[in-house]
């Protein structure tokens, strides 16, 4: 056994190792910094928190990944068996101290990440409480504007196969384009009339499933002017991919003006790519299997547009 005890690494080897680790740390920090650019623009107060956590984990992850890959690369370069060398290597069966160390390090690391994530979660929770209200009967979510039950600043979001409708009960306005006021907290009341949908605005970093039979209260604060995409994130059937809407974040003045203008506009069919495509298919059948018929486009004051350029 004495002959197979590991050679003590010399000072040169230790220095090289230190330089290498330093290089990995540097690369990891750089990747962590870069990782912020992989995400869409930050358009809500949740976004910087989520992005900070993501950047942190990317940095840690890069270091771990490169560390493991370095070892793999090293052994492939240095510890390759010589040609025709059929002999075995030294029978090192394990090392309890090492085992303890490399059990403890990941444990501490993931618990640190979890602690950081819980802090962020708590802060996000303060920013956007999420509350479930069981609807007594499904009919309650339909018909009319339940303005008497909702606080004025709430927007009711109705998800359907396949359209999004946004109702502003205080102004008696409805739209298929979501307009929000900059830096003003807003609470949504998410309901679905048919199946599961997902309320997902990537620029806001927030996502919440919309569950039929429940009304879910969901809050956020937009922090950046612009036009963003809202995407359905929980598979909802044939036109799932086309079930998107635009989200416009505007100044308080613009928002007030928009609401005023919208209230005066007559009701018309809102945006529904699914309805349009379905009608087209009825005219020119192009194969495919039977599908659920899209719900008729909601009658809204403002249909909006889905073809304008968006920021994220």
């Amino acid at each position: 056994m004495t002959s197979s005890t590991p050679r003590r690494p010399g000072p040169v080897a230790l220095a090289a190792l230190a330089v290498w680790i330093g290089l990995l740390v540097f690369i990891s920090l750089w990747v962590a910094d870069q990782s912020l650019r992989w995400l869409p623009v930050q358009a809500s107060n949740a976004a910087p928190l989520v992005d900070g956590l993501f950047s942190f984990e990317t940095g840690v992850g890069t270091f771990v990944f490169l560390g493991v890959i370095s070892v793999m690369g090293w052994v492939m370069l240095v510890h390759r068996a010589e040609k025709y060398d059929e002999s075995d290597a030294d029978p090192i069966e394990g090392n309890t101290r090492l085992e303890v160390i490399w059990t403890a390090i990941p444990f501490v690391l993931v618990m640190a990440i979890a602690w950081y994530a819980i802090q962020v979660s708590t802060e996000l929770g303060v920013l956007g409480p999420m509350e479930h209200i069981h609807l007594r009967d499904a009919g309650e979510q339909q018909g009319g504007y339940p303005g008497d039950r909702l606080p004025a600043e709430q927007v009711e979001v109705v998800a359907r196969q396949w359209s999004w409708e946004f109702r502003y009960p205080a102004q008696n306005v409805s739209s298929t384009e979501l307009h929000l006021e900059l830096d003003r907290p807003i609470t949504f009341r998410l309901v679905s009339e048919d199946v599961l949908h997902g309320f997902f605005i990537p620029a806001f970093r927030l996502k919440q499933d919309v569950i039929p039979g429940r009304a879910i209260d969901f809050s956020l604060t937009p922090t950046r002017l612009g036009r963003y995409r809202l995407r359905d994130s929980q598979f909802s059937g044939t036109w799932f991919a086309a079930n998107q809407a635009d989200v416009v974040v505007e100044t308080a003045a613009d928002h007030a003006a928009w609401l005023k203008q919208a209230a005066a506009a007559p009701l018309q069919s809102g945006l529904s790519v699914a309805s349009d495509e379905y009608a087209e298919h009825q005219r020119n059948p192009r194969g495919g299997w039977p599908t659920v018929v899209p719900a008729p486009p909601p009658q809204v004051n403002v249909p909006g547009s889905s073809s304008l350029p968006h920021d994220a």
Binding site: D88, L196, F235, A241
Partner: protein, 556 residues
């Protein structure tokens, strides 16, 4: 070599692969061949999916067809490829590694295997019913899965649930068999801590099947009743709860990932020592880590439902349990690195697949920790980030590990050597293809592209084109594999009993082994596995056994 290779073999050796055999080694190969047939079907569907996604518009196939294709791709790959192929390896390896003549219940084994083509045909048949196949994803979440536009009793979703239920029956039959075999039929002297790690991981994975699968079966029964009888377990309009199904589904389907990856950990643990010529580093820790993963794996399922509306404390709890899984998994990764360290590395095809698989697995582990983090998960769940993550796990790590296993044990069970050149080409194409296919999915997910979409906004086009090219490369990568398997089995060089100088009971059998393996002469195990470099024999009378095998090979 050529003269022996051309010598006619008894016809029974190939005919038995087409009948109701009860020999685990025959059933194992039947499993693997059937699984690869469905792998090609599922892969073809993936090619069409990536063909559709190479452009932003929905222009290659109708949206209903796209939804059917991705649903069937996932279902086929999981229930008809990866579970059967792993059961095939279990059948080949468990009895030979522990020195048993066969499985504990050979006829149950036959029945479990023959259910696979039955439910496979049932699932494929759903392409030909008027309603088309199931289109609600392999999760089959209600209420969308309960929508039945034609109103017919026999519809795609109905056939899907039936196929999944039969797959569950088959898997339970298999699991009872594997667990009983490992618990009761080990060679004399083979205590649990002399058992190869592959058997440990198989035992762990099959225990998970036994605990998890019934929950899915129960959930699927209720789904079937909702769909066909009109009950309202999951129908909100009848007071049901659609989220309840998600709990049933993920209570099994998250552990299912460990059912897949644990045996692959076993394969890594078997192969790294062989091709590093060193004992597995920290054998006992690696064995125990599997069961820690089983325990933790059963209490993490809610992390699939963070955006479904679970309370904050549940989110935090399940985040912590999920992250804890990184610890036993890390122990395994470090143990493999410790095994490689100062070894005598031989970069054979199986070793390359293992190293590539480990590379991909570490990457997938890091994105896995990110996904466990609630705030990040809220942003990326149900996006392509998740698709990228699990394809790194399933294809990048598990399928590559399975290829490694096939190349490594091919000589043992066919008696022929696979070709190294084709094998290395296969590795190169797979490794490059998988990374090119699945890496671009991560930026797509971070940018906010939802999964399961048949069309997308133009800003996602660049990464999607790359991913599609990677997918097509993966499609090509299977050609050298098939060529290698067919040609080397037909006329490859004869394999000696231990071509890789590996240590293990299976390498003390002739290649291919006799039907009852060791028969009456099961050797007594006297040391731990992976005794590379120690010079200690694994079993009593090892030298005599090896001499007899070598003599027999010289005379054939």
């Amino acid at each position: 070599m050529t003269s022996t290779a051309l010598s006619p073999e008894p016809p029974a050796t190939w005919r038995r692969y087409f009948g109701f055999s009860t020999d685990a080694k025959v059933i194992g190969i039947q499993y693997i061949v059937v699984a690869f047939f469905f792998f090609l079907v599922g892969g073809l569907l993936a090619m069409i999916i990536r063909g559709e996604l190479i452009t932003p518009a929905s222009d290659l196939v109708d949206r209903t067809v796209y939804n059917g294709l991705y649903t069937m791709h996932g279902t086929i790959m999981l229930f008809l490829f990866i579970f059967p192929v792993l059961n095939g390896l279990n059948n080949l390896l468990i009895p030979t590694m522990i020195g048993a003549p066969d499985m504990a219940f050979p006829r149950l084994n036959t029945a479990a295997f023959w259910l696979v083509p039955v439910f496979g045909i049932l699932l494929i048949a759903s392409f030909f019913v008027p309603s088309g196949p199931a289109t609600s994803g392999w999760w089959s979440y209600p209420p969308v899965s309960l929508q039945n536009p034609l109103g017919q009793l026999i519809n795609g979703e109905f056939l899907w649930v039936l196929a999944v239920a039969l797959s569950g029956v088959s898997s339970i039959m298999g699991a009872v068999n594997f667990v009983t075999t490992i618990l009761r039929m080990r060679a004399p002297g083979m205590g649990f801590f002399r058992m190869p790690v592959f058997c440990w991981t198989a035992l762990a994975a099959q225990s998970l099947q036994l605990i998890g699968l019934p929950a899915l079966t129960g959930g699927a029964v209720m789904l079937l009743l909702d769909l066909s009888v009109g009950t309202s377990f999951y129908r909100p309009e009848g007071g049901g709860d659609p989220v309840l199904y998600q709990h049933f589904f993920w209570f099994y389907s998250h552990p299912a990932v460990y059912v897949i990856i644990l045996p692959v950990f076993g394969i890594f643990s078997e192969l790294f020592p062989v091709y590093s010529r060193k004992p597995l580093f920290g054998y006992v820790y690696v064995c125990l880590a599997s069961f820690i993963i089983v325990g933790l794996g059963l209490i993490v399922w809610v992390h699939h439902m963070f955006p479904s509306g679970v309370t904050q404390w549940m989110r935090n709890l399940f985040m912590v349990t999920t992250m804890l899984i990184a610890v036993p998994t890390g122990v395994k990764v470090f143990a493999w690195l410790g095994t490689l360290w100062r070894g005598k590395i031989r970069l054979t095809t199986p070793m390359l697949f293992c190293l590539g698989g480990l590379f991909n697995f570490v990457f997938a582990g890091i994105t896995g920790v990110m996904l466990a983090t609630v705030p990040i998960d809220i942003h990326v769940s149900n996006t392509y980030f998740v698709v990228g993550h699990f394809h790194y796990v399933i294809y990048g790590a598990a399928v590559m590990g399975i290829f490694a296993a096939i190349y490594h044990w091919f000589p043992k069970f066919t008696g022929r050597m696979p070709y190294e050149g084709l094998g290395k080409l296969h590795f190169l194409l797979t490794f490059v293809g998988a990374n090119l296919n699945f890496l671009p999915m991560h930026p797509l997910g971070l940018m906010g592209m939802p999964r399961r979409v048949s069309s997308y906004d133009p800003e996602f086009a660049f990464w999607n084109v790359l991913a599609s090219l990677g997918a097509f490369l993966l499609g090509v990568s299977i050609i050298p594999f098939l060529l290698n398997m067919i040609s080397s089995w037909a006329r490859g060089p004869r394999a000696p009993h231990n071509p890789w100088s590996a240590i293990g009971l299976e390498w003390l059998l002739p290649s291919p082994p006799a039907e009852d393996n060791f028969g009456e002469h099961v050797p007594t195990v006297i040391s731990r596995p992976y005794g590379y470099g120690s010079g200690e024999p694994l079993v009593e009378h090892q030298a005599e056994i090896e001499r007899a095998l070598t003599l027999q090979e010289a005379n054939r």
